[in-house]
Symmetry: C2
Subunit: 298 residues, 2 copies
């Protein structure tokens, strides 16, 4: 149970966290700051936050729980703005999709309050952004990755674990480096491929006619291409080294398909597809062992 949550960034991710905490009965007061005054007011109107604050420092003042839910490019300035008002026992978490850069920003700015910080990445979202789309169930049955620092105390880590578990999320722990390599492969590159595939169609004179005929396969494949441009600019930029490594792996894989198609080698083509199909058919969103693991953790 926390007394005061300071929500820095009142969007889909932050708003959903606030709603989930309230639903779980874990919070007394929720205050929020957003760079846009309109967004702050909307968050109050939608009863996601109790009170809008005019600055990061005003929001964080007196908070025992702080959630930093801004685009990863805005993390540095937010850390700097809260440093002097963070209480020693406050639990500070982010929800950034990259971790090494957020940690570097925290290390460069937070000083002795660095031990308040437990970097977090809930693997959830929607292709639509904004507080209007926030919902208490966003993190339910979704995974949340924590990437603790060497300085993170075990009690702080446990508190972070407990908060995410209480709102229905399955918590895993990774090093920041393993996190960024993993999500370059399974999230950042897929987003970039979906963006590139949509642009490749619209760049053609018949692009609009092509899109008009697209079916449910295209709908699902390209859903993530509707994601917010500022958010994904920041994610891809922050993790560009790992993303470029994954692009190279992808190009090598695509080359195999192209070679098989060009040479008419249908056996090789079938083998390549079978490999992908077997892998994807065996995969599911939260593997059973992961769920069991999470239950045991709890």
């Amino acid at each position: 149970m926390f007394q005061r949550l300071a929500l820095i960034g009142c969007g889909l991710m932050g708003g959903s966290f606030a709603l989930a905490l309230r639903e779980a009965g874990l919070i007394h007061t929720i205050v929020g700051f957003s760079a846009s005054e309109k967004t702050r007011q909307r968050a109050v109107e939608l009863k996601v936050i109790d009170q809008a604050c005019n600055s990061v420092a005003e929001a964080v003042q007196g908070a025992d729980l702080v959630l930093l839910a801004v685009p990863v490019g805005a993390m540095h300035i937010s850390f700097a703005a809260m440093r002097d008002v963070l209480q020693p026992n406050t639990l500070l978490m982010d929800v950034g999709s990259t971790k090494c850069d957020v940690i570097a920003a925290a290390q460069a700015t937070l000083g002795e309050r660095l031990n308040c910080f437990v970097p977090a990445h809930p693997i959830a979202g929607k292709e639509v952004a904004g507080i209007e789309h926030a919902e208490a169930s966003l993190y339910k049955e979704r995974r949340t990755i924590l990437t603790p620092l060497p300085t993170t105390g075990i009690h702080r880590l446990q508190a972070a674990h407990d908060v995410w578990t209480a709102i229905g999320s399955h918590v895993s722990t990774l090093t920041p480096e393993a996190h960024d390599a993993t999500f370059a492969a399974v999230s950042h590159l897929p987003h970039m491929l979906a963006f590139a595939a949509v642009n490749a169609i619209t760049a053609q004179p018949q692009g609009a006619a092509f899109l008009d005929m697209a079916g449910p396969g295209f709908r699902d494949f390209s859903r993530i291409a509707a994601s917010d441009a500022s958010v994904w600019r920041d994610i891809l930029s922050a993790n560009h080294a790992e993303v470029l490594t994954q692009v190279a792996h992808f190009r090598a894989s695509l080359d195999q398909f192209e070679t098989a198609l060009k040479s008419g080698d249908t056996a090789a083509l079938q083998h390549l597809i079978q490999q992908a199909s077997d892998t994807r058919s065996a995969w599911s969103l939260l593997a059973d062992n992961a769920c069991n693991q999470a239950s045991e953790d709890k």
Copy 2:
């Protein structure tokens, strides 16, 4: 209303067509042939067909409606097997995902029965194959493309139109060439990209650990990678020229992202993402005007 439907290929697509026709009260008797005897028996057990036949010719004999729902690589042999028993007034349709190659096979084999044939491609499916997954609603609110030949009579085309409309599908007409270019862009290439992306992950030593952490974005993006390998080997092979053209467009688009990432040009990166995001956000599965069009057709 038809008397006897001959279903050639008792899988997801054919089985769903049979169930939909029955539900719409449009058919008296359904007979079926499948290369696998086990599948034929399963189709009878599941009451998708009334009677299993031992050959294409036996099934087509006396049928006034024939649906050819086999992988596109098996179309040629199926046309050849039915040629001598097709009645002059029978409506023959396929459900192949490529059209130029299926039409070439029909032209090479059907002789004067070519005028029975209305090439069709319902834009529906699942990532799982097989008669067990067939359902009467598969084609509801989905688009079906007809690609008539110069020899296709207007009455035959109308009959084809009426059948698909009666089971809830929205019918559009394209030339076979436009069809194959369109679906290379919005279906065949996306499948190949999803296959290649999954293989690129599993080719890495940490691939399994990466996949274990993947979230809902990956789930939707990669859903089509679980598709049937034989079916997609045939589709990609049959339409390889158009698919290779689309790969080239895609690579050019991906190059732009890679260049922006490598040079740290965040403005260019944001612009590229914004373009994709705007396009995908404005897109929906069946555009309103298409639905209106379909209603007017009806």
